[in-house]
């Protein structure tokens, strides 16, 4: 895993390391089992098409969880996720890159914690932000 990041090292505008996902239909089944969301549009192509979709789509909640991994991996062992969320604006599909990204939008200290605010999102191969969102994390201080 990457080196621990510290509050003092972070600046507004910094982009955090990307997390690139590419879901197979098998991963979508594993997610269905892990999350309890068995809605067939995520693994049954005939069903998905019968609802008007062009094919199976990635669960919105899985994209939210991917953004969670993006943040978890960045804050490291000494950091902590406080809040994170996203909106499901665009659909994402299996077997193509789904890029999770984040940019620091602010830093503040509150109640003894070093908080960093970020804009986070998932992006499709066309560069469209399919799940835009925000996060707040706490980072350790070097002091």
């Amino acid at each position: 895993m990457a080196e621990q990041v510290y509050f003092e090292d972070i600046n507004q505008g910094d982009e955090i390391p990307k997390l690139v996902k590419n879901c197979s239909s098998q991963q979508l089944v594993m997610w269905a089992a892990g999350s309890g969301d068995f809605y067939q549009i995520h693994y049954d192509k005939d069903f998905a098409q019968s609802t008007g979709l062009k094919g199976i789509i990635v669960h919105g909640a899985l994209k939210h969880a991917f953004l969670g991994q993006l943040l978890h991996d960045w804050v490291g062992e000494k950091g902590r996720l406080k809040k994170f969320g996203c909106q499901y604006r665009g659909m994402d599909y299996p077997n193509q890159d789904l890029i999770c990204r984040g940019v620091v939008t602010g830093k503040r200290q509150e109640s003894g914690e070093n908080l960093v605010e970020l804009e986070i999102w998932t992006e499709n191969p066309e560069g469209e932000k399919t799940s835009p969102g925000k996060a707040v994390v706490a980072l350790p201080s070097r002091k």
């Binding site: 895993m1 892990g34 969670g68 991994q69 062992e77 406080k82 994170f84 499901y88």
Partner: protein
């Protein structure tokens, strides 16, 4: 002619009403399965020794994992929140936010969740009127502490 509101008094009456509490269990297998489904590589979600070395009492939940509601086929299916009769048949998931508090959520915890509709609003979309439902689920652990709040948006149209 102004469009009349699609939000009825009957709908407004459910805002803020808390659902019956539901038991949600956090166990090691579920933590690992969720982590695996996402593709987490950090061993803290899989290896109890690593978790303990890092100060957790057991495997910590990966982000967005809040345990497994207890399923029992002999009990009637329950809606997550106090629901209302909606004129719309189609639903979209508009978004999800999770907020955490001071306590970690780890395997071995037993949580209780209650849900409510926090807000109802409406919008005119290209497909016609849309009902926006913001709901909130509060998770408390076995010590009665709030460990997470899940906020979701549903769009009915």
């Amino acid at each position: 002619m102004t469009q009349s509101s699609i939000i009825t008094d009957e709908m407004r009456a459910v805002i803020g009403q808390e659902s019956e509490p539901q038991t949600v269990e956090v166990d090691r297998t579920a933590v690992r399965m969720f982590a695996r489904g996402v593709g987490h590589t950090d061993p803290v979600h899989y290896d109890v020794e690593v978790a303990r070395r890092r100060g957790y009492r057991d495997l910590p939940c990966p982000p967005a994992f809040l345990g497994t509601p207890v399923f029992n086929p002999s009990q009637p299916p329950r809606t997550a929140y106090v629901s209302f009769k909606s004129p719309f048949k189609r639903v979209l998931n508009g978004g999800t936010e999770v907020e955490y508090f001071d306590e970690d959520i780890c395997a071995g915890d037993v949580l209780t969740s209650t849900s409510k509709i926090a807000d109802l609003s409406e919008r005119q979309g290209s497909l016609g009127p849309m009902l926006i439902i913001r709901f909130e689920t509060t998770y408390r652990n076995q010590k009665g502490k709030v460990v997470a709040i899940l906020r979701g948006t549903g769009i009915q149209y």
